[in-house]
């Protein structure tokens, strides 16, 4: 029994008003589906049903794409960049004003700790709108013309499909640059986390955004596939698994559609023997246990120099024992719920694979709540490159620990994966950071930090982690064209 126990400090959920059921947001209004298929969204920490959600069918998607087309051909397409920017600024401010509401709703629907939705997801989502609001009237000066001499123009109607790990943040990564560049969007949130996207639809109304510029259609993977195949969509932006990303690439092959894909990852977090060890341990924790490991760029492989491996693992285990797992609405919770039963099953499967492969499993000793989907922070030591847990994305709070002897070996192991989204380097030696960053085949390389995001910094992958970038000037490239738009 610890001397200093923290009493429950729950955030109030009174700030959100969840409706019993939701329609689709098409043409600036909430509308009923033409079909009658629905599903329920639940709170993964308690399995409480939060609301009934519409599953959009092909007819609904057609209406949404037409609404987006009308807006593109009509009021939105004729607005100046400066005017578009005003709308984005307005949305950003409303997100800040309603930050607590969004944070609570995100935590209820997703299962992530309130401290993360409050301190990371929602502030970053607002920051993305602020950042892109500033670009809206400066696109001609962003070097986007690619030598054509033509000013960059919007592509048209963008179909966007986003995952459940950072629902509102991924929405903002998608919608903010699309709108800044003058496109209109049809966005489909994940089946398990639709609520903040539906609340965002209210924000669009509150901001008087012209009808049809943003359309939100809810549904399952099938809904997403219909949206991607719809002939009226000019561009696809997708964040999700590599498997689905490959399907999308196949399905749009031979069409005029272009795509940006943010897919999976199996990032190496590389700790050298001269690293600032206490901060490196924090970085390892932040790299893989932040957001329950539901992060495509998670540092799921720890590569630690062999001569400090024992010390680092001892410190890591000690640190994991102080992580507080439990009610995501408690302000002191560090590790929340796994997002869904399906994801929990996947994590359990992969950890049994790890054990069967002969790696040593260690889980932080913590009591798991009875209801809901939970998985204790877990590390595997004695992992080798040949193990599936070193190769496949687990997308959960599971760290695979490997060792290396030289910087060359670290690079070889880090790059020995079909993915290439991110990597981390921990060393006090600046020249080694530069050399490593040059060698690593990863879209983001963090030095002495991990999982830091900023709207000004482009994010995206090498290899099977996808193509295209989001954020920064580079992120705008995916939303403009200098040729014909149709």
């Amino acid at each position: 029994m610890a001397k200093f126990e923290y009493a429950p400090a729950p955030e109030s959920r009174a700030v959100v008003n969840i409706r019993p059921s939701y329609g689709l947001f098409i043409g600036g209004e909430f509308v009923e589906s033409t079909g009658d298929s629905t599903f329920k969204t639940i709170s993964p920490s308690s399995e409480e049903v939060l609301a009934e959600i519409t599953e959009a069918g092909e007819a609904d998607i057609d209406l949404a794409v037409r609404a987006a087309r009308r807006a593109f051909d009509g009021p939105w397409g004729r607005l100046s960049g400066a005017e578009r920017g005003k709308y984005l600024f307005r949305i950003a401010r409303i997100l800040q004003e309603r930050a607590r509401e969004f944070a609570v709703l995100e935590t209820l629907d997703n299962g992530k700790p309130i401290k993360e939705s409050r301190d990371v997801d929602i502030p970053l989502a607002a920051a993305h709108f602020f950042y892109h609001a500033g670009w809206a009237d400066k696109l001609e000066h962003a070097g986007l013309s690619g030598g054509s001499g033509q000013p960059p123009r919007p592509i048209g109607v963008v179909g966007q499909v986003i995952p459940w790990n950072f629902p509102l943040l991924m929405l903002s990564w998608k919608i903010a640059p699309a709108l800044a560049a003058g496109n209109t969007v049809v966005l489909k949130p994940s089946k398990t986390t639709p609520l903040t996207a539906l609340l965002f639809a209210e924000v669009c109304q509150q901001a008087d955004l012209p009808a049809g510029v943003v359309n939100i259609i809810t549904g399952t993977g099938r809904t997403g596939a219909h949206l991607i195949r719809h002939p009226g969509v000019d561009k696809i932006a997708f964040t999700g698994s590599t498997e689905v990303g490959k399907d999308i690439a196949r399905s749009i092959a031979g069409t005029r559609k272009r795509a940006t894909l943010e897919l999976g990852g199996k990032a190496a977090n590389i700790v050298f023997d001269d690293a600032a060890i206490d901060q490196a341990v924090e970085g390892i924790v932040n790299g893989i246990f932040f957001n329950q490991g539901h992060v495509c760029c998670a540092g799921s492989r720890l590569l630690v120099q062999e001569n400090v491996a024992d010390d680092v693992i001892m410190r890591l285990k000690r640190r994991l024992q102080t992580l507080r797992l439990g009610d995501p609405m408690d302000k002191n919770t560090d590790v929340g719920a796994i997002n869904s039963a399906a994801q929990l099953a996947r994590i359990r499967e992969m950890t049994s694979v790890g054990e069967a492969e002969g790696a040593t499993r260690w889980s932080a000793p913590c009591a798991l709540p009875e209801r809901g989907f939970w998985f204790a922070p877990t590390i595997f030591t004695g992992v080798s490159q040949a193990h599936r847990i070193a190769q496949e994305e687990i997308f959960g709070p599971v760290l695979s620990v490997l060792t290396f002897r030289t910087p060359q070996e670290a690079v070889a192991k880090a790059n020995n994966t079909p993915y290439g989204l991110s990597a981390g380097i921990w060393t006090e030696k600046g020249s080694r950071i530069l050399w490593m960053a040059d060698q690593l085949r990863a879209g983001v390389v963090w030095a002495n930090t991990f999982n830091r995001f900023d709207p000004t910094s482009p994010f995206g992958g090498y290899k099977e982690s996808g193509y295209g970038r989001e954020g920064g000037r580079h992120g705008l490239e995916g939303y403009v064209t200098t040729g014909a738009t149709r």
Partner: protein, 335 residues
């Protein structure tokens, strides 16, 4: 620069240091190699970790418990040129009865004064079990010869001080004369052991004055150097230099005592002094003690707050928790 006399403890400290460092002779070079071989501290990461711990929400029952714990960890301090016997006596009365309206309020751990006020405090606190701590060694600058520092310390011990808060020579530390810093600490420690009048060795708190050391790497090295030389406590600041105690600095010192115990089996205390004024601040420090050093340090024997104004804010919050409403500054005594 004259070396301090090689007294009994100083010799013992040097012997155990030689053993720990694995060297035949304790030289400035061997100390430098050892201290500079400690893992570095990444400034950005350390700040982020301390800030993250600062977001813990301590409410209701845990807040009540933590307020009482914090009160019992206070070294109630007055270190002013204007201090008088009357001022020190009234501070001692406050130490013994922090809240006259509620006798269940815990007493503070110690009263901390300059060496000429030690006798007054000892007399005022007689029978209370509250310790008297004296700042010595030419506090706060430490700019005096070793003979003066030793006399200063012995004076305080003879007057009955239970705890000695010494300052390190930051000039020597910053110019790389680690052996000198080591020897000075060891000599004062020796005085604490041998010159305490009733035979009970005084506890030695070594003030690093982290505001003058500036970098977190220096804070870590100074912490380890002080522990190696025999400190019972490592203490952040004099309170006379800004910044005094900050959350990241205290965190790095808590990491140091944690790692030192892992290495040697010996537990060392930490005192955060200066700049901690509110209950909220105190809660943040207790969270750090809890999550960085661990349970064993949640004890007035192993963690202290050096403060004056903090006590009254803790008392106000304590009254608020008991009564459900805020009282106000007139409902706690000023000293």
């Amino acid at each position: 620069m004259s070396s301090p006399p090689a007294t009994a403890h100083a010799r013992t400290a040097a012997a155990s240091a030689r053993e720990l460092l694995g060297v035949g002779a304790l030289t400035n070079a061997s100390l430098t190699t050892w201290l500079h071989g400690l893992p570095g501290v990444d400034h950005v990461g350390a700040d982020a970790r301390a800030a993250g711990l600062g977001t813990r929400s301590i409410k209701t029952t845990s807040k009540a418990w933590a307020i009482d714990m914090a009160i019992s960890m206070i070294d109630l301090t007055t270190l002013e040129g204007a201090d008088t016997e009357g001022k020190v006596r009234s501070l001692c009365a406050k130490a013994m009865t922090p809240d006259p309206g509620d006798p269940a309020t815990p007493r503070v751990a110690a009263v901390c004064v300059y060496n000429d006020m030690v006798a007054v405090a000892v007399d005022a606190l007689k029978g209370s079990h509250i310790h008297v701590a004296a700042v010595t060694t030419a506090f706060p600058s430490g700019r005096a010869t070793m003979a003066v520092k030793l006399t200063d310390t012995r004076d305080a011990l003879r007057a009955g001080a239970n705890e000695i808060d010494m300052v390190i020579d930051r000039g020597a530390f910053l110019s790389g004369r680690y052996l000198q810093v080591f020897n000075e600490i060891a000599a004062i420690k020796d005085a604490c052991t041998r010159d305490a009048p009733d035979g009970a060795p005084a506890h030695l708190k070594v003030i690093l004055e982290t505001g003058e050391l500036v970098t977190y790497d220096n804070v870590r090295r100074a912490s380890w150097l002080a522990m190696l030389a025999g400190a019972n406590f490592i203490k952040t600041s004099t309170g006379k230099v800004s910044p005094a105690s900050t959350a990241p600095v205290a965190m790095i010192m808590l990491e140091a005592v944690r790692d030192w115990r892992d290495l040697t089996g010996t537990q060392i205390g930490v005192k955060a002094a200066g700049g901690i004024r509110t209950t909220k601040d105190a809660m943040k420090y207790l969270v750090m003690v809890n999550e960085i050093a661990g349970d064993d340090w949640i004890d007035p024997a192993w963690f202290r707050f050096g403060a004056s104004g903090l006590l009254n804010d803790l008392l106000l919050q304590r009254q608020k928790l008991a009564s459900g409403h805020y009282s106000g500054a007139d409902y706690v005594t000023i000293d």
